[in-house]
């Protein structure tokens, strides 16, 4: 097992190098340079000023030299400074945004699992009945509704018309003056609509997997055995069937780990939540290479680690996989 882990970790290094080479090249291939984006169409900027800026950002050097410099900084865990006019370290900019994005994504993920799994089970046990139909309609409605539209409607309803909830942002103005619990309550109020909408939109996938998995398991012989033993239906479903039906859910959970640091631009823009999505998007639009690379590298590392963790979790959870792999190694 340790050997396997070490091998996987070592394999990540060339993989990571490959990823950075490709992404570095691709973002430099996109037309336009950070300098262009900053000064284009500005009559006050002379050609000489442009060259001065290019030199400042070292864009006048060949691409491989730029890459080498970037990598040599990265191995010292220095992501460099942003090409935006503020020139702040990339890591600071990411650190400002990451906690918000991760917390929100985590809450949405928990809500998603807490709602989708029971919905899926209910749909499966009431297969083809009205409950199944209605939950299907509900989750697909969430899947199909444009969330920005739903968000705006809810903001208008609860924020403007009824005046129950705040519209955007994370805090009320002047929240610093209040006590801890007031601030928690204030933030919770701000998050009701965004979290609600995000969860509503995410239910479809997982609940359908649960439903299918459950239906499949319920058709198995051992379930029939359990029922034949005279076990109560509740025990049959929740103790015997659920365990096996949960496997696809674990897969999805594993795949969700890297997505925790990603944010949705549209979502963050509408709710004025300062998250990773907007940061990354703005970085791309401004051709802020160090920032884009920084976000991508962190994303790549997390994805690779997430995959590794998922594989390991499988191996631990499922004896068949564990033994199969050790034999193969």
């Amino acid at each position: 097992m340790l050997y396997y882990l070490a091998k996987r970790l070592l394999l990540m290094i060339p993989l990571l190098v490959g990823i950075t080479v490709i992404t570095f090249t691709v973002i430099h291939l996109a037309p336009g340079e950070p300098v262009e984006m900053q000064v284009a169409m500005n009559p006050k900027v002379s050609a000489e000023a442009r060259e001065r800026l290019r030199k400042f950002y070292e864009l006048d050097k060949p691409l491989h030299v730029q890459y080498a410099k970037w990598v040599s900084r990265l191995v010292r865990l220095d992501f460099g400074r942003s090409f935006a006019p503020d020139g702040r370290p990339v890591i600071t900019k990411i650190r400002e945004r990451l906690p918000v994005t991760i917390s929100l994504n985590l809450i949405v993920l928990i809500l998603e699992f807490a709602l989708a799994i029971p919905i899926g089970i209910m749909a499966a046990t009431h297969r083809d009945g009205p409950l199944d139909r209605w939950t299907t309609v509900f989750v697909f409605l969430g899947f199909a509704t444009p969330l920005f539209w739903l968000s705006l409607i809810l903001m208008y309803l609860f924020g403007v018309k009824l005046d129950w909830l705040p519209i955007s942002g994370l805090h009320s103005l002047g929240y610093e003056a209040h006590g801890f619990w007031w601030r928690v309550g204030d933030m919770a109020k701000h998050l009701v609509i965004p979290l609600g909408v995000a969860t509503f939109g995410s239910l479809a996938g997982l609940s359908r997997y649960m439903r299918t998995g459950m239906i499949e398991v319920l058709g198995q012989d051992y379930i029939m055995t359990a029922r034949a033993k005279g076990l109560p239906e509740r025990v049959v479903i929740y103790r015997h069937a659920l365990r096996n039906a949960l496997l696809p859910a674990i897969t999805i959970l594993g795949l969700s780990i890297p997505a925790l640091i990603g944010g949705s631009v549209i979502f963050e823009s509408i709710f004025a939540i300062p998250g990773m999505g907007k940061l990354f998007m703005d970085g791309v639009m401004a051709r802020d290479y160090p920032l884009v690379m920084g976000v991508l590298v962190i994303g790549a590392v997390l994805t690779l680690l997430g995959n590794l963790l998922a594989d390991l979790a499988y191996a631990i959870a499922d004896p068949r996989i564990r033994h199969g792999r050790e034999r193969a190694l």
């Binding site: 009559p43 006050k44 900027v45 050609a47 903001m155 705040p166 955007s168 942002g169 103005l173 940061l279």
Partner: protein
């Protein structure tokens, strides 16, 4: 108490006078002026987040807005867009126009209490021209031959030749030498925690959420009435509008649709005042003059005659704008109101095209010359809905006179790099910001037609060149006015662009703020004199 009343009365008279100026502004909401009082906060919405509060390094409008409250320049534009002294009490221009001597205001202090002197001005000049400073704004200062500070309250600059935009260039924000001298300006903490001389001092900045400024009680023009100025960063205009309605914002810029359709209820108008005045920008249809299709002036005149500018303003701006005839804002001193532009007249367009040799030979509705149909592509940048709609309206109108137009939208970076810089386009729809100084050198002089330069349409006219040089070479406003009036006549005749429209700026401010005085410069020029009567203060 009596003095307060007098102030109110004066303000009232002023705002009434402003109303009478006609199109300038349309305030609404019948509220009594109340008594000026200190306190309260103004919460403004901003789509973008400022990048840095060292204005030397910033080029985005959000940064410049905030920096404008924190710093001062030596000179500034007053409400009628005339230059007046700011940190410089007065200035003299030598007889030969080569030397400007600024007499600095005494007793001005930085937000940290240090006195402001000519050393700060000299530092700002030096750091701007320093080749190591990554600033976009060195060009004007490069014209300076010598800069000196003979004493703490005098600053003198000498130019190699008279340069009219020079005076305006000293409106740049003066930076504190005592905090920056000898340090790397690109790594300075002042980018996030600025120290200026302006009416507001920096309080806090929560990345991606808000930026808070506090009134400077020691400001040289007196303590501003509004205690705090809060910028909330809300990237989406629909959200911003709802925040406004829900009371989370006090001020924002409306879109034309919001102004015309969504903010007309009694309830809204009792809570907010809407303002309207021409923005300092225009939208145009530019032709690639190197392209054989557009080298004939009559063709360009014909296209302008075939387009109804009023229709575009109605369709795209909901009427919130005015027709543009040249590169200046209507109402400013350089704007020539008597230019004879080509008005909408399709018959004249057809006649001009026929004169230029374009005929409809095969009755398919498309004009032909030398066996080639009259067909061209209008390019514009992706994501600007107004420009796309403008292109669609033009497409319809030109079809009516026998010209086929295709429309293509391209992402901004690619648009610049692959099309504008290479001169690889036929026609484009873009916009320019109208600078306060009327100098046109960068956009219209024939020496600026090279790659990556701004006369990318390739306009060359010897008379215009001469007039531009004459205009920037003198400080005499009358003489400059004559030059720019003539240039506008020539441009109207040559039609290198079809100047389309000047959009209106449409700010809306909560009605609890009093003392707002709309003027050609907009509404922010007297922000420190805005106030909220005690009884109505919210924050």
């Amino acid at each position: 108490m009596n003095r307060c009343r007098l102030v109110c009365l004066v303000l009232l008279v002023f705002s009434l006078a402003a109303c009478n100026e006609g199109k300038q502004a349309v305030p609404a909401g019948p509220r009594l002026p109340g008594i000026p009082a200190y306190g309260d906060a103004l919460v403004a919405g901003s789509i973008g987040e400022p990048s840095t509060l060292l204005p030397l390094l910033a080029s985005d409008s959000a940064s410049r807005d905030v920096a404008g409250q924190i710093y001062n320049g030596l000179v500034r534009y007053d409400k009628n867009l005339k230059l007046e002294g700011d940190l410089a009490e007065k200035w003299e221009i030598s007889r030969d126009g080569l030397t400007i001597t600024f007499h600095l205001r005494k007793g001005v202090t930085w937000h940290d209490g240090q006195p402001f002197t000519s050393r700060d001005v000299l530092y700002t000049y030096r750091v701007t021209i320093d080749p190591k400073t990554p600033t976009a704004y060195a060009e004007n200062f490069k014209q300076v031959k010598r800069a000196e500070a003979p004493d703490p309250y005098t600053f003198r600059v000498t130019y190699a030749k008279p340069f009219a935009p020079a005076l305006e260039s000293w409106g740049v924000e003066i930076l504190p030498a005592h905090l920056l001298e000898g340090k790397d300006v690109t790594r300075s903490e002042l980018a996030r925690q600025p120290v200026g001389t302006g009416p507001y001092r920096f309080k806090e900045w929560i990345a991606g959420q808000k930026l808070v400024l506090e009134s400077n009680h020691d400001y040289y023009e007196g303590r501003p009435y509004i205690d705090r100025y809060v910028y909330r960063i809300i990237p989406d205009t629909a959200t911003m509008y709802m925040e406004l309605k829900a009371g989370g914002l006090d001020m924002m810029g409306l879109t034309p649709v919001q102004y015309q359709r969504q903010t007309t209820t009694k309830e809204f108008l009792s809570r907010f005042n809407k303002y309207r005045y021409p923005a300092s920008a225009y939208t145009y249809l530019g032709y690639n003059l190197r392209h054989p299709l557009f080298s004939d002036r009559r063709v360009r005149q014909a296209i302008t005659s075939a387009i109804s500018k009023d229709e575009i303003i109605q369709g795209v701006q909901f009427g919130m704008g005015q027709v543009a005839h040249g590169p200046y804002k209507p109402g400013t001193w350089a704007y020539n109101p008597n230019v004879r532009d080509f008005t909408y007249n399709p018959d004249r367009a057809r006649a001009l095209l026929a004169e230029a040799g374009w005929r409809d030979k095969n009755d398919d509705g498309i004009l032909v010359k030398d066996g080639k149909p009259f067909s061209f592509t209008i390019l514009t940048n992706q994501g600007n809905d107004q420009r796309l709609k403008t292109a669609l309206i033009i497409q319809q109108r030109l079809k009516a006179v026998g010209i086929e137009v295709k429309i293509r939208t391209i992402e901004w970076a690619s648009f610049l790099k692959n099309f504008i810089d290479k001169g690889d386009f036929q026609a484009i729809i873009l916009g320019w910001t109208i600078g306060q100084d009327p100098d046109l050198f960068d956009v219209w002089h024939s020496s600026k037609t090279g790659p990556r330069e701004l006369n990318f349409v390739g306009y060359k006219n010897a008379e215009v060149d001469r007039l531009i040089e004459q205009g920037r070479g003198t400080f005499d406003q009358e003489e400059r006015r004559r030059c720019y009036y003539r240039i506008q006549e020539i441009l109207a005749e040559d039609q290198p662009y079809t100047f389309l429209y000047v959009p209106d700026a449409l700010p809306v401010v909560s009605a609890r703020f009093r003392g707002i005085e709309p003027a050609p410069a907009g509404i922010m020029h007297n922000f420190i004199r805005w106030y909220v009567p005690k009884g109505e203060q919210v924050y």
